[in-house]
Amino acid sequence: MKGDALLREHKLLVQGITGRQGGHHTGQMLEYGTKVVAGVTPGKGGAFVHGVPVFSDVQKAVERTGATASVLFVPAANLKQAAVEGIEAGLEAMVIITERTPIHDAMHVLALARRNGVAILGPNCPGLCLVGDSKVGIMPNRIFRKGDLAVISRSGTLTYEVVQALSSANLGQSVVLGLGGDRLLGTDMREAVEMVLEKGPSGVVMIGEIGGQMEEEASLLIKELGTENVFAYVAGVSAPPARRMGHAGAIVARGSGGAWDKIRALEDSGVAVGRSLGDLVGLISKRFSV
């Protein structure tokens, strides 16, 4: 998969631009400086949202505006169709904000994207920010501060918390990636770490949570590469087994996916793991304080 397509600036298309969320965040993205060139909502072609032209299908939007990536705010029931349309129109990267996508639909979309070399972030993610240049998705504009840290996270508001705290502590970021809370993700933690390392960050901050093996797999990569200055926080040490904690992916199932296993795997790979959010920011501050 061409994951690095996510870390390039694109001419952006907003799928589901006429919805409440799509409209609001189009405004926010424009304000941040993202090149939003088109929107798509079936049947609403010809309209404008924040001055952005709306088309009825992705193919036409791509032909007219040269859009190379999209962000999807469409309802879960339409996600599969909308994403397939984007893939077939030749987009290079897609960021899926939509929550509660049926898992079989996600499986279909991710397999088709892989087959066509399209990079996907999400589903159920807050998007990404190339700090100072462009923001795709729903992260608040004002939390970022330009710098060299890369932040990778499975959680939305927890990312905002950490990024804001980093910014207040004068620890700037170059890229912030919200991977999403679903079980099947277009870009998982290991792939995200691999991607951001290409950018040569001064440090990598990982925010993980219970469920699955993503943090463990990422720590294997970190160990293999001997990457330094990696920091992490894992949410859910107090979570009971077999209960799904808000995110579809956040569940300790069959004795696997517990927070302590992840913390141990990360520490075993030389990652500095903060035991609380305050701890995490403290660890990073200490390492980078002049």
């Binding site: 898992i103 992260m139 993700l185 569940i251």
Partner: protein, 380 residues
Amino acid sequence: MSGDGMNLLESEAKTLFRRYRISTPRGLFFPDMNGIAGSLDNLRFPLMVKAQTTVGGRGKAGGIRTALHGQEALEACERILGMHVSGSKVHGVLLEEMIDASREIYLAITIDQPSRCPLLLAGSAGGMDVENMPSHTMRRWNIDPLEPFPEEVLDQASHFLLRGDQGSKEVRSTIEAMWRLFKNMDCELVEINPLMITDSGKAIAADAKVSIDDDALSRHTEFLDRYGRDLTELERLARDKGFNLVELSGDIGVLANGAGLTMAALDTLQRYGGRGGTFLDLGGTDDPNRVSEALGLLSYDLARGRIRSLLVCIFGGITKCDTVADAMMHTITDRNVKARTVVRLRGNNEDEAAQMLRLANFNVHIDLDDACLQAVKVRE
């Protein structure tokens, strides 16, 4: 193995199996004792009497019994219907004719997270916990979700399981039927453990586990009313309002926006000796109306004494914190509730919001650790 979605009862899963032409033993389901005695004549003894639950562990809990005659069957039903399995209610009992089989195998189709693909699991030693099956008796195949089920996997699986013995054809058609069911019904898991292979080469599903993706339930309306049958009253109220709420065993209610933040707040409470009583995740939103609605739910929980303090933790990214603060001041007017509530707001206009709430006598903090410490204190 259990699915992560909505688990059907064995009897419901078997109804689906029959619809997809997977053979099951003859049997009858009863939600309670009504009608059992009168129906026993229609079944051939010996019978299996099985607790119907949505959670695993019924075997160890004594929820599977055999009955050689009517009296035994009735006694087994009485016992099972009064049971709880892993803290979960028994939803009924399934009476089934026993199958005489020459071998028992294991089959499952599930979703493999790392490869993001369906996964076929086949085991030549069925009938035990899948975790305990020796690894050389198990094989796995990743299946491309964009293609029809591959013929060669059918060949390989049936050869691996039966080595050309009787029943190959039926095993193949069972796997194909499981695949159709898995795809058509948005399943997270279709599992048969064991699949009985009789001397004449018939394949019969002695057990059945089906878990349906709850995000796809709108496509399977016949199961909509099954969703949430194991939820508590509070969890159901929250679900109807569109919140993620998990009732926990502690006594501090936690309300936050975003699953990660809610978990982080619960974790931090634990560091200070507190234990969460609710996980209430608003989702990514900081919409003041949603905050108010969620506060209403937890105030109710506080009033009935299940929780003794309330920690509200909101990151205001879209809305401004002072707007959220304003909504909170209008929702929490009861002095007693206010005294047991600790608020932490971060994000846009956090200082203004803290100022407003402080003037209205709320216990407000910017730091998560401080807020958690307070939430532990005020419950006394």
